[in-house]
């Protein structure tokens, strides 16, 4: 696993949680905060390994719960579960097209709040639920879907800046060398 990639993703998770708490504009326009952790989980599931996904779910989830009224520990499991569902099928998923990333992001944007709500309710807390919750989940799903391809492009660009490209192997293979003359 590339440490720079992991550091970038964890740094972005830190900024994503901060933006979710501090940036008011999406809340005013959409009625729901901008949640960037589900798109990050999709990125980690498709591009990084299981350790990175686990670290992202744990660090991002605990940070989110620390700034929220959620009972501590309710967010890591939904983030990880959603990421794992994508990670376990990543060999069969279309990854490079924007529409596929959009759909995966939307799926993550839907599953993460639903799983979290189930955990919050089972912990005995009384969240503010109603018809507006449906709107918030729907808006969150669309926003996560739209943000995911953008995030992939951003992270690809960042990666080009900070990560050395892998050495490309030439066409020469020693086992295919034709040796002439008697040995």
């Amino acid at each position: 696993m590339n440490r720079t990639r992991l550091t970038l993703v964890l740094l972005l998770a830190y900024l994503a949680v901060f933006l979710q708490a501090a940036w008011q504009a999406p809340r005013l326009w959409l009625g729901t905060p901008l949640s960037l952790l589900p798109p990050l989980v999709v990125y980690a599931a498709l591009r990084l390994d299981l350790l990175a996904l686990t670290l992202l779910a744990l660090a991002g989830g605990v940070a989110l719960d620390a700034l929220s009224a959620n009972p501590l520990g309710t967010s890591p499991l939904p983030l990880y579960l959603t990421g794992w569902l994508i990670w376990a099928r990543r060999e069969t998923l279309v990854q490079e097209q924007d529409y596929a990333r959009l759909l995966l992001g939307a799926l993550a944007g839907l599953l993460v709040p639903l799983f979290t709500l189930i955990l919050v309710l089972s912990s005995g807390a009384e969240p503010d639920l109603g018809r507006h919750t449906l709107w918030q989940v729907l808006a969150g799903t669309v926003v996560a879907g739209v943000c995911t391809p953008v995030l992939f492009r951003l992270l690809d660009r960042l990666e080009r800046w900070f990560v050395h490209p892998p050495l490309t192997t030439g066409a020469y293979r020693p086992d295919r060398e034709i040796k002439r003359g008697r040995s």
Binding site: Y14, V17, F18, Q20, A21, A22, Q24, R27, L28, G31, T32, P33, S35, L50, L51, L53, T54, A57, L58, V62, A63, L64, D65, A66, L67, S68, A69, N70, P71, L72, G73, T74, P76, L77, Y80, W84, P113, T116, L117, V120, S123, E126, P127, D128, L129, G130, R131, H132, T133, W135, Q136, G140
Partner: protein
């Protein structure tokens, strides 16, 4: 079939979740504060940037505009001076009458202006974080308001920050009175309206409903958390519920919780 690394990852996430969910409340609050401290530099940075932007806009304001504003403020100031004289007379009369009736008034409240640092990142909680905490005299249960009306009450207090639960969150119920009719009720959760986040349900109203749209809702002081007479909102509509056994109303809050930047905390 799961392989060994997958089992390990699942085990780690499940273990952390179980441990955190089963932490005693005090420990959970400490962990939240410890993790939340990591974000304070960013909040400070945003606050400084906003301050600088405000200073810059003030520096760039045209002189004519400043003169116009100064004149308007002078007029307002004179008007308020007159009203202050009248209010002082009324206060003195009130004090005299209270003395005659031997009725001791509640102690005066002090206020502390606090800046809103953040809002709850989860959309199913109505709460926000302030830039003042226990070291500034804040404690759990104190009322929070803006000049327009009541905002909520202080819940958890850390050393330098405090969490405020807003009116409309199920954890912040407010005993209120309708000024025009004297009917009392309880402000409970946010109303079902999707587009207007300022609508809150007013429940436990008497069956014979005299409350009408446009009536003003104030805190009643029942329960002892909020002092009486704080403006809360205006009745939007009413309905009969429970087969006519009791009534409910929808109240539009005076204070817009989505646009709060600074709030006042009432200190006893």
């Amino acid at each position: 079939m799961l392989k060994r690394p997958q089992w390990l990852a699942w085990g780690a996430v499940a273990l952390v979740t179980l441990v955190l969910l089963n932490l005693p409340d005090q420990w959970a609050a400490r962990v939240k504060v410890a993790v939340g401290v990591l974000f304070l530099p960013l909040f400070g940075l945003v606050g400084s940037a906003q301050h600088l932007a405000g200073e810059a806009s003030r520096a760039l304001a045209p002189r004519d505009e400043l003169h116009r504003q100064l004149e308007a403020l002078r007029r307002d100031h004179q008007q308020l001076q007159l009203e202050l004289v009248r209010a002082r007379e009324a206060l003195e009369e009130n004090r005299r009458l209270r003395h005659l009736l031997d009725w001791h008034p509640p102690g005066p409240w002090k206020t502390r202006v606090c800046r809103v640092l953040a809002r709850d990142p989860a959309s199913w909680w109505q709460s926000l974080t302030l830039d003042a905490g226990a070291r500034d005299g804040l404690r759990s249960g104190l009322p929070v308001l803006v000049p327009e009306g009541l905002v909520g009450r202080v819940d958890h207090v850390a050393e330098t920050t405090a969490e405020v639960i807003l009116v409309g969150d199920p954890r912040c119920r407010v005993a209120v009175i309708v000024r025009e009719t004297g009917d009392t009720g309880v402000l409970s959760t946010r109303s079902a309206g999707v587009l207007d986040h300022r609508l809150v349900d007013l429940t436990h109203l008497p069956r014979l409903l005299a409350v009408r749209p446009g009536h003003t809702v104030l805190t009643s002081g029942l329960g002892g958390v909020f002092p009486p007479g704080l403006p809360v909102g205006t009745v939007v509509d009413t309905r009969s519920v429970g087969y006519g056994l009791y009534a409910e109303a929808r109240v539009q809050l005076h204070a817009d919780p989505a646009r709060l930047r600074e709030v006042l905390v009432l200190l006893p």
